[in-house]
C-alpha cells in the first residue's frame, strides 16, 4: 500500500506525496515535478498560461507562506475563474496548487 504514497518523476527520482497527491516537501518542487503532477490532474501539457498561474502561486507562497485567496489570484493573473478551470479542470485548490507544489490548502467542509 505504501508505494501509493510516492511518485516517481523522471530525472528527479521518488517523491513522497500525501493521499491527495500533494508533494510532502514543497522545497523539492521543480518544473519536471510540475509536469508530472499536471498529468495527475487532467492537464496533458503545460502552456504559457499554465506556467503564469503556477509561477504566480509559487511566488505568492514563497513570499507569504500561504496560498492566495481565489479572488486575488484571478485579479493578479488576469484570469477569470472560468479560465482558471479551463487551465486546471480540477480547480485552483486541487489542481493548480498541487502542480505548483504548494502544501495542501486546508479547508473546512
Amino acid at each position: 500500500m505504501s508505494d501509493e504514497l510516492k511518485i516517481n518523476v523522471e530525472g528527479v527520482g521518488e517523491l513522497a506525496v500525501d493521499e491527495d497527491g500533494f508533494i510532502e516537501d514543497p522545497g523539492k518542487w521543480s518544473e519536471a515535478v510540475a509536469k508530472h503532477l499536471a498529468g495527475t490532474e487532467g492537464v496533458t501539457e503545460l502552456s504559457e498560461d499554465h506556467w503564469k498561474l503556477v509561477n504566480y502561486l509559487r511566488n505568492y507562497y514563497m513570499e507569504f507562506n500561504i496560498a492566495p485567496m481565489i479572488r486575488k489570484l484571478c485579479k493578479e493573473t488576469g484570469f477569470n475563474l472560468k479560465k482558471v478551470y479551463e487551465l486546471f479542470p480540477s480547480g485552483p485548490a486541487k489542481g493548480a496548487c498541487k502542480v505548483a507544489g504548494l502544501p495542501k490548502p486546508t479547508g473546512c467542509v
Binding site: 493521499e19 487532467g42 479572488r71 484571478c74 480547480g91 485548490a93 495542501k104 479547508g107 467542509v109
Partner: protein, 397 residues
C-alpha cells in the same frame, strides 16, 4: 464481504441499539454482511469509543473535474486495522427543492450509491443536501457521471455558495407567502458558478422559508435568510374564532396573553387585532389556523448574517430588506445578492462569514457599499451605551 473477514465486535456501540429510538448502529449493521466498508466503519467507531479519540484525518482535497466543491475528502488514520475505510469520502448531492422525490428517483440514487459507495446515506445534511457517506477516490468520477446522467448534480462544499434550501412552501402549506420552491430552484440555477466553483472568503448559505414559522430555521442557519411575510392585515374569520372559543379554547390565556406585542384584544365575542403593532410572530395563526391566516399582500423579509460559532459566537440573521415582493424572475433579489457578495468577497478575510464581516466593518459602511439605505427595521437591538454624540452636538462645538 467474504466469509473469512471477521465481523468486528461492537459491545459499546451495541448500547446504542437499546431503547425505542432509531439508531445509526442498527442501520450500519444491516449493511455489515454486504459491505466491508460498513463493517470497518463500525470497527473504527467502536475503537474510537474505546480510546476516546477520533481517527478521521481532516482536510482531504478530492473532487471531480470542472468542480471545486461537492466532495469532502476523508481518510482513516487506522487504514491498516480498517482497510475498507482507508478512503471514506463524502459526496453532497443537490436535493430537489422541498425534498420531494418520486420513489424511482430515490431508488436511482440508492442504486448508484450501493454500487459505487458504502450505501450509507444521510437524508439530509444540515445544509439540505442528500449526503452520500463513504467512497474511494477512484469512484468519484464514475459516481458523478452516473448522477448527472440521471439528472442529479453535486451540491456545494468549501468556500462557495452552499446548496440553496427551502421549506416545502406552497406545495403543502397555506401559509407560504411566496413560492419557496420556485425561488430555490431559480437561485440554484442562476448561481451555478458560485455553487460549484469556490470563490468566496468562506461558505455562503441561502435558505428560504415561506412564513415566519421558519421551518427550515433560516434565521439561524443561513447567511441569507429569506422569510415570507405580509404587509396588510391578518385575514380573520370571526365565526371560526367563536367556534374555537365554544370548542373550549381559552383565547384570552392561550392566544391574547401570548402575543409578544399585545396587539390582540378579545372580549369574549370578538377578536380585534392591531395590525400596525403585529410583529408577524405567527402565534395566533398557529393556534387558530381555521380562523386566522397571513394577509393577502405577501412577500418576504430578507435577513443577513446568521452562522454557527467558530470565530465569533453564534449569530442570527438581521433585517436587510424589510419587505420585498418575490415574483419570477426575482430580478431585484438577485441584484441584491450580487451586491452583498461584492464587498464581502473583495474585503472579507479568509474564513470570515458575511455576518462577521459586517460586524467588523460596521453595518453603516456595509450598507453604503451595497447601496441600501438604513431603515429602523434593521435595528437589531436597542443601544446599550448611553454616551452618544449626535452629529448636531458635534457641530455646535
Amino acid at each position: 464481504m467474504t466469509d473469512n473477514v471477521k465481523k468486528h465486535e461492537t459491545p459499546l456501540l451495541d448500547e446504542l441499539l437499546k431503547g425505542p429510538w432509531p439508531s445509526f448502529v442498527k442501520e450500519f449493521k444491516t449493511l455489515q454482511d454486504k459491505k466491508a466498508v460498513a463493517n470497518d466503519l463500525l470497527g473504527q467507531l467502536e475503537y474510537s469509543y474505546k480510546t476516546k479519540l477520533g481517527y478521521w484525518k481532516h482536510g482531504g482535497i478530492v473532487g471531480v473535474m470542472g468542480y471545486g466543491g461537492g466532495v469532502i475528502g476523508r481518510y482513516s488514520s487506522l487504514a491498516e486495522m480498517f482497510p475498507a475505510v482507508k478512503h471514506f469520502h463524502t459526496i453532497r448531492v443537490n436535493q430537489p427543492a422541498g425534498w420531494f422525490y418520486t420513489s424511482k428517483a430515490l431508488r436511482t440514487l440508492c442504486d448508484i450509491w450501493e454500487k459505487r459507495g458504502s450505501g450509507i446515506t444521510n437524508m439530509h445534511g444540515s445544509t439540505g443536501d442528500i449526503v452520500f457517506l463513504g467512497t474511494n477516490t477512484e469512484e468519484l468520477e464514475p459516481i458523478f457521471e452516473e448522477l448527472t446522467k440521471e439528472g442529479f448534480d453535486l451540491g456545494g462544499s468549501g468556500s462557495n455558495l452552499r446548496t440553496p434550501s427551502c421549506c416545502n412552501g406552497q406545495a403543502r402549506c397555506e401559509w407560504a407567502c411566496y413560492d419557496t420552491m420556485g425561488l430555490c430552484y431559480d437561485l440554484t440555477q442562476t448561481f451555478q458558478d458560485e455553487l460549484h466553483r469556490p470563490q468566496f472568503p468562506y461558505k455562503f448559505k441561502i435558505k428560504m422559508a415561506g412564513c415566519p414559522n421558519d421551518c427550515v430555521a433560516s434565521i439561524a442557519r443561513s447567511d441569507l435568510s429569506i422569510i415570507g411575510t405580509w404587509r396588510d392585515n391578518i385575514q380573520m374569520d370571526q365565526s371560526a374564532v367563536l367556534k374555537y372559543a365554544s370548542d373550549g379554547l381559552d383565547i384570552q390565556k392561550i392566544v391574547v396573553m401570548n402575543c409578544p406585542t399585545k396587539c390582540l384584544d378579545w372580549n369574549g365575542k370578538e377578536l380585534k387585532i392591531d395590525n400596525s403593532n403585529c410583529v408577524k410572530c405567527m402565534h395566533c395563526i398557529n393556534v387558530m389556523p381555521k380562523a386566522l391566516a397571513p394577509g393577502k399582500d405577501r412577500g418576504a423579509t430578507v435577513l443577513l448574517g446568521s452562522k454557527a460559532p467558530i470565530i465569533e459566537g453564534a449569530m442570527l440573521s438581521s433585517v436587510l430588506i424589510p419587505f420585498i415582493k418575490l415574483e419570477p424572475p426575482f430580478k431585484e433579489l438577485k441584484d441584491v445578492i450580487g451586491r452583498i457578495w461584492e464587498p464581502w468577497a473583495e474585503h472579507g478575510k479568509n474564513r470570515e462569514r458575511i455576518g462577521e464581516f459586517i460586524e467588523r466593518v460596521g453595518k453603516g459602511n456595509f450598507l453604503e457599499e451595497v447601496g441600501i439605505d438604513p431603515v429602523p427595521e434593521m435595528v437589531k437591538h436597542p443601544r446599550e451605551n448611553p454616551y452618544i454624540f449626535y452629529d448636531e452636538y458635534l457641530e455646535d462645538e
